[in-house]
Symmetry: C2
């Protein structure tokens, strides 16, 4: 298997068009379908609002071949995430995203999902699995459900909520299933 | 809490210095401490080599403030990951990396760690927790240990290995603990 990084793409963007890593507001241009911040009308949810079984659905996000290769170059430089030909020869059969890329896109979708927590989404950890890969061109969204909500004994002003997040592609196939614990402030 | 993206940094790099997202081999310049590919002398390990208790240690990687903000802008745009002042006011107390960023850096360190698997590192999922945040300037490495290795019943040419990966900072504090199942080919 080819373990060399792929040759530079002759169709690569010019310097002028390239993303500038410090100019953060350019990272998501206005045309991006995921909002940068919550719609101000989205209500903030407290521990008491996280009733078991309550569901939330995120916006959608298309994962492009360029996204897959760019993430892989930084964080998971393996041939089946970097190079189309190597991916075809691999067990994936086509260019596939790193599982950590799918996890990161899932987080991006959750940050401005209707599951809006005062102070932000702060995860403690959980379980994660990738039943199938994310392929180039897949359009992902996240369906979330409250599994458990418990007030913290030592700090009663907050609690731990366990959410199940299923990240699905445009064919409603699950590309990631995660059970994640987050910290949520309480009303009273 | 400030939910607007931070203003552009006036000290931001020039266009010429900015990373070009398609010129992948420039993403990790020659001075980068993590190798892009395995040293060819690193032996490939098969299922039979994953004896319970065997340990591996990765190279190190410094997570800079710029890295943290850049990852956050793409995948976890919350004020405590994007903006120093907002981070100081948050429960983190200082600019902290997204947990998914810590997970992604962990993967980057594992890809060329001595745990070299023929065909690459392909994860099925597992458990993950972040006992403390990664802060700007932290230098991370990963200590890995074989927890279990089982031949696949239906496909005896491979098996599932469960690894515990502890990602530690320069003070040997655990910033991520993960128990991850990977697919490993067998010799016989």
């Amino acid at each position: 298997m080819n373990r060399e990084p792929p040759a530079p793409n002759p169709d690569a963007q010019s310097h002028e068009d390239a993303l500038l890593d410090e100019e953060l507001e350019e990272t998501f241009p206005a045309s991006d379908p995921i909002p940068w911040v919550h719609d101000p009308r989205t209500p903030e949810l407290y521990l008491e609002d996280f009733t078991v079984g309550r569901r939330f659905t995120s916006a959608t996000f298309e994962v492009t071949a360029r996204d897959i290769k760019e993430f892989a170059a930084r964080f998971d430089p393996q041939p089946f995430h970097l190079d189309d030909a190597a991916a075809r020869r691999s067990m994936f059969g086509a260019l596939a995203a790193s599982g950590w890329h799918t996890a990161s896109v899932t987080m991006r979708l959750l940050v401005t999902s209707p599951m809006r927590v005062p102070g932000g989404l702060i995860g403690l950890g959980g379980e994660i699995s990738w039943p199938r890969p994310t392929y180039a061109g897949d359009v992902l969204h996240v369906e979330s459900e409250v599994v458990e909500a418990k007030r913290t004994r030592s700090k009663p002003d907050r609690g731990i909520v366990t959410m199940r997040h299923q990240t699905k592609n445009q064919r409603a196939e699950v590309v990631q299933s995660a059970l994640i614990k987050i910290i949520v402030p309480s009303r009273g």
